[in-house]
């Protein structure tokens, strides 16, 4: 069994309640931080831990915190990104639902470290029932003196609120999230300025993912060095992986970084192997945005090394033969899966979710969806495959926010690794199974 830092107690009966959580050692990090540490010392521990943003980008958290501007007399904000909408990702929901107080505790300790007196948890609207769980946990935390005025007699004040969104993938992008929190459309902002300088209401703001904030709790409790001792290289600590698709045991697993991908897919401790004993065809390792890899490249790098569950190993080989850890949304596909159809599904998603600000993304995602639809309809040509490649290359890197890249990478990687699947559909349309069994373009117009 690997070491667990976040989900160690997730099966303790009643852990959702304050009493049980507290009895199991909860809120120790707040006591330690407020009573015996300076904010600077906490930031130092987070830096030492090597913790990297768990939402997908993997940016070092301690560094992000140290960028926070501190002009005198200006409010600073900590905003938790609980928008979790990267397809294939459901770890934050699991954590918030099971151990809501872990997130609340992390928010208090982190807010103290950053000098924020008002903090928000921005949660996607579809998770309304989870928002309810968080509201109850916050109410309990207030009642027990962990939130409000003069926490633990320290003179430190903190108010914490849940803010629900209303259904928009783009709001997982931190500046779109801030726009949404200000009561506007979720249009990402042009950077700079970064939120660390001008974020919520124009004030210095840190936006961190749920899992990142939760990880601050063990880091403060046990020290940054102890956290950094877990994992491998620059992939320190543990990571929550959301495993789904054609596996025997889908679910959320906390892994020590550095276990092999093969172990993760096939061992009983994790995914328990392929459903029905079928053959592995492909994996999307870090949420729908990261490059898809065929079985041979996900299990071993191009150099023949075993592929590990870590930022570095999954990225080994660059986009030519590697991928990204991303959000840890691990989608497994067996040999019955049509890669072209899957790509159409992803591309339709990005087209639907594009905010429409930048033309390469707004138009390009729609064009790609249409071309894939044409190929699946049996009317594709070889030129269409090249056209798809061409369009994605003109979206990548040419938009305000990373949604453009996120829409381009699945297309590029599917063509790179599975070009023959596309060619087969083009040359031999009768090989397309279930031709009328996928959604028509106009079939799913919004209600």
């Amino acid at each position: 069994m690997g070491k667990k830092l976040l989900l160690e107690k997730d099966h303790v009966p009643g852990i959702r309640s304050y009493e049980v959580y507290r009895k199991e050692g909860g809120y120790a990090s707040v006591e330690k931080a407020i009573k015996s540490m300076t904010p600077e010392a906490i930031v130092e521990e987070v830096k030492k831990s090597g913790l990297r943003g768990r939402g997908g980008a993997g940016f070092p958290t301690g560094m992000k915190w140290s960028f926070l501007a501190k002009p005198p007399g200006v409010a600073r904000y900590l905003v938790c990104n609980a928008d979790e909408s990267e397809p294939g990702t459901f770890k934050d929901r699991y954590l918030m639902e099971r151990i809501p107080h872990l997130l609340i505790e992390g928010m208090i300790t982190s807010s103290f470290a950053l000098g924020a007196n008002t903090s928000y948890i921005y949660i996607r609207g579809e998770y309304f029932y989870v928002a309810r769980i968080l509201e109850q946990a916050i109410e309990e935390a207030y009642k027990n003196g962990w939130l409000g005025k003069n926490i633990l007699g320290s003179g430190y004040d903190l108010d914490l609120y849940v803010h629900v969104g209303a259904g928009a993938y783009i709001c997982g992008e931190e500046t779109a999230l801030l726009e949404s929190l200000e009561g506007k459309r979720g249009n990402p902002r042009i950077k700079p300025p970064f939120p660390a300088v001008a974020g919520l209401y124009g004030c210095p703001t840190v936006v961190n993912n749920v899992e990142t904030i939760a990880a601050v709790v063990p880091i403060v409790n046990q020290g940054g060095d102890a956290y950094a001792a877990i994992g491998i290289g620059k992939s320190t600590g543990t990571k929550l992986i959301s495993a789904s698709g054609h596996i025997n045991k889908p679910g959320v697993y906390e892994i020590e970084m550095g276990i092999t991908v093969e172990d993760f897919i096939y061992s009983e401790e994790y995914c328990g192997g392929m459903k029905g004993g079928r053959k592995l065809k492909a994996v999307v390792a870090g949420g729908s945005s990261v490059p898809i890899l065929p079985a041979d490249l996900i299990l071993k790098t191009a150099n023949g090394e075993p592929r590990l569950m870590s930022y570095e190993s999954l990225a080994d080989g660059g986009f030519a033969s590697g991928t990204m850890l991303g959000s840890g949304g691990f989608i497994v596909m067996d040999d019955s899966t049509s890669i072209v159809k899957n790509l159409w599904n992803f591309t339709r998603f990005y087209h639907h979710e594009s905010c429409g600000q930048c033309s390469p993304c707004r138009e390009g995602t729609g064009w790609m969806e249409k071309i894939l639809h044409k190929i699946l309809d049996g009317h594709g040509s070889m030129k269409d495959i090249d056209l798809l490649w061409d369009i994605q290359s003109k979206i990548e890197g040419k938009t305000i926010c990373p949604l453009g890249d996120a829409a381009a990478w699945p297309v590029a990687s599917a063509i790179r690794h599975f070009r023959k699947d596309f060619e087969e559909y083009v040359q031999n349309p009768s090989s397309i199974k279930d031709v009328h069994h996928y959604y028509r373009l106009n079939d799913l117009t919004e209600a």
């Binding site: 459901f90 309810r132 509201e135 609120y161 803010h163 209303a166 259904g167 928009a168 998603f349 079939d443």
Partner: protein, 181 residues
């Protein structure tokens, strides 16, 4: 259509709105817009008519256009009337891999509507939605605040039967009970 109903929140909801507005700093009450729109949609028949949006604008002391542009951006807000229960089937990635199409086809057949449509009796609206973060329990669908996971066609049947028997409007804000601070 709620034309014969006066567009005004009951006092209890108004109190909730005031509490929501207090969560944001002085002068930034527009931040409460999305939460208040959720309350409005729940109160006024599950959708946001222009009149309802104007009312929300007046509560937050902002222009109507500021409400329209937000309401039209987010997929959870309905700008047209919907049935009492909106069945939202996740159609993305893992749900698709695990049979979301079969679920959608089955519901379409059972309710005799296409995705995006409402049944003649006004009971159900069927919607295809993007990833709801329930990939490990796919396929799944959402009705109001409830997630229904690890679906089989039999489960879908009994869910629809129960909803019809219950005959109650389902909203995202059902059971929502925000902290009192």
């Amino acid at each position: 259509m709620s034309s014969d109903k006066e567009i005004k929140f009951p006092e209890e909801t108004l109190e909730l709105v005031r509490r929501m507005m207090k969560r944001y700093p002085e002068g930034k009450q527009k931040s409460a817009l999305i939460p208040v729109l959720h309350l409005a949609q729940a109160e006024f028949d599950g959708w946001l008519s222009p009149q309802v949006m104007d009312y929300v604008a007046s509560l937050l002391n902002i222009q109507s256009i500021e409400v329209y542009e937000v309401a039209s951006f987010y997929s959870m807000f309905n700008l047209k009337p919907v049935g009492k229960c909106t069945i939202e089937v996740c159609r993305t990635s893992s749900c698709w891999l695990m049979g979301a199409e079969d679920v959608i086809r089955h519901i379409e057949k059972k309710l005799n509507i296409k995705t995006g449509q409402t049944t003649a009796d006004g009971m159900f609206t069927l919607k295809g939605v993007e990833c709801l973060g329930s990939c490990g329990t796919a396929p799944m669908l959402q009705v109001g605040a409830e997630y229904h996971e690890n679906l089989t066609l039999e489960k879908v049947d009994s869910l629809l039967d129960n909803l019809r028997k219950e005959d109650k409007r389902k909203c995202y804000t059902d059971h929502f009970d925000p902290q009192s601070n």
